[in-house]
């Protein structure tokens, strides 16, 4: 069990800056995020899109912003637990007991939810029958590509993941690539490669088709796909891969006894505390009168929540406000010289 002064859920810009604020005032913290990388929506949804409303930064991309925040917290060596989703938050005396889907446990007086719009999960196929084969013959990511060797794999999607895997798996599997329209949105070089492989018969390309059903007994046997013109085809297949990007879902947060309004968590504007003492929500996931879903608002919310954490983590000490420009203590924490 990991003991820490505060646990932050979410490694997006708000979570990162909240960590910075906690460490600056002398508290420990660790960060958990369901994605396998730091940055949250900035990295997952718009790494290349310019952002124009970060104070004092006229223009930066989601990726640049994330990298700058990572640099800003570097002096603190904050432990991050990536690729893990917090599933359970339970009261344990004066503390909160937190457990991830991988079984990691934390004990902390403060939990700060900086979860954006929830956790990112892969978008799945719509036919109900697909659930039966999930993680057996239907996958939304590839963990072990050797299982596809010599088999027929039907890949759905039109982005880089779908195209890259179609190219890769065509070396040792029979590949069907199915997409809802003629245009692909992947890198041009990969798109060209796919068309080349389709021409030489290495990839069977089905465009303007979508999955309507799957058939099989214990094992998946075939898929049914429908063309825009309503024509239906049945294709034998051993595996299905779906690459439709990620969707944000509130997920387990809904089960922690928090007051939730339209997928957001209601907080006060002094501590950004939820209806549960010691659980805070900051950034896009929190709501209060006048809430703006801006990164800058998340920074402010995190700074205030961090001060509120101090009280519960250090009940016998008094928090003293200090400026980074003049405080020797803060400069020591940052590892910079004070003169």
């Amino acid at each position: 069990m990991i003991k820490t002064d505060a646990l932050i859920i979410g490694a997006g810009p708000t979570g990162l800056f909240t960590a910075h604020q906690l460490k600056l005032i002398g508290l420990d913290c660790e960060i958990v995020d369901n994605l396998d990388k730091i940055g949250g929506q900035c990295i997952e949804l718009y790494p290349d899109k310019p952002i124009y409303d970060i104070p004092a930064v006229p223009e930066c991309t989601g990726e640049e912003l994330t990298n700058n925040l990572i640099n800003q917290i570097k002096p603190f060596n904050i432990k991050t637990h990536l690729g893990e989703r917090v599933d359970e938050v339970k009261k344990d005396g004066e503390h909160w007991f937190v457990k991830t889907n991988l079984g990691k446990t934390f004990l902390t007086p403060n939990v700060i939810i900086a979860g954006g719009v929830g956790s990112f999960e892969p978008r799945k196929f719509s036919p109900k029958e697909c659930e039966k084969y999930e993680n057996k013959s239907i996958f939304y990511s590839v963990k072990d590509k050797t299982i596809f060797e010599g088999k027929t794999v039907s890949i759905f999607g039109g982005g880089d993941s779908a195209l890259d895997w179609a190219v890769e798996l065509s070396k040792s599997s029979k590949v069907n690539l199915i997409h809802r329209r003629d245009d692909f949105r992947g890198a041009q070089a990969t798109v060209d490669k796919v068309h080349e492989l389709a021409k030489s018969g290495k990839i069977n390309l089905y465009t303007k088709y979508q999955l309507t059903n799957v058939h099989g007994g214990d094992n998946l046997e075939s898929i049914e796909i429908k063309h825009d013109s309503e024509e239906v085809k049945t294709i034998k297949t051993d595996f299905i891969l779906g690459f439709f990007g990620l969707i944000m879902q509130l997920g387990p947060i809904a089960d922690w006894g928090l007051s939730i309004d339209k997928k957001t968590v209601t907080v006060d504007t002094e501590k950004f505390e939820t209806n549960q003492k010691g659980i805070y929500a900051v950034g896009d996931i929190c709501s209060y009168p006048g809430k703006l879903k801006l990164i800058l608002s998340g920074f402010h919310e995190g700074a205030l929540a961090a001060r509120a954490c101090f009280k519960l983590a250090r009940p016998n000490e008094k928090y003293r406000f200090e400026f980074t420009t003049s405080s020797k203590t803060i400069k020591d924490r940052l590892g910079v010289k004070s003169d």
Binding site: G158, R185, D228, I247, M248, K263
Partner: protein, 106 residues
């Protein structure tokens, strides 16, 4: 104000006066029309404000740009008349626009 007609999946029709300049998504969210999630808040980054535009209106709307078409790849059961409602800006020309909201967004 422009009339926008939202048909929800439970076969209810909601006729809403939406201010010109707002998007069809904002009109739905501000009036609590169920079925439009709009997770990313109109950033064309999530495809959870997906609607099916009534056949009679498809041609009358401004064309989709590439980014919208790319996001629609990820929508739940996209069809030819699929649009992201955050990309449809309400104006006088759209008076009486009918959009059908899918059974779910993800």
């Amino acid at each position: 104000m422009t009339k926008i007609i939202y048909n929800t999946h439970d076969n209810k029709t909601h006729t809403i006066d939406v201010q010109n300049g707002l998007t069809v998504m904002e009109g739905a969210v501000q009036n609590d029309i169920p079925g439009i999630d709009a997770d990313c808040g109109g950033g064309m980054a999530c495809a959870t404000c997906h609607v099916y535009v009534d056949e009679n209106w498809v041609e009358k709307l401004p064309q989709k740009d590439d980014g919208e078409e790319d996001m629609l790849d990820m929508a739940f059961e996209p069809k030819k008349n699929s649009r992201l409602s955050c990309q449809i800006i309400v104006s006088d020309e759209l008076d009486g626009l009918v959009v059908n909201i899918p059974s779910k967004q993800s």
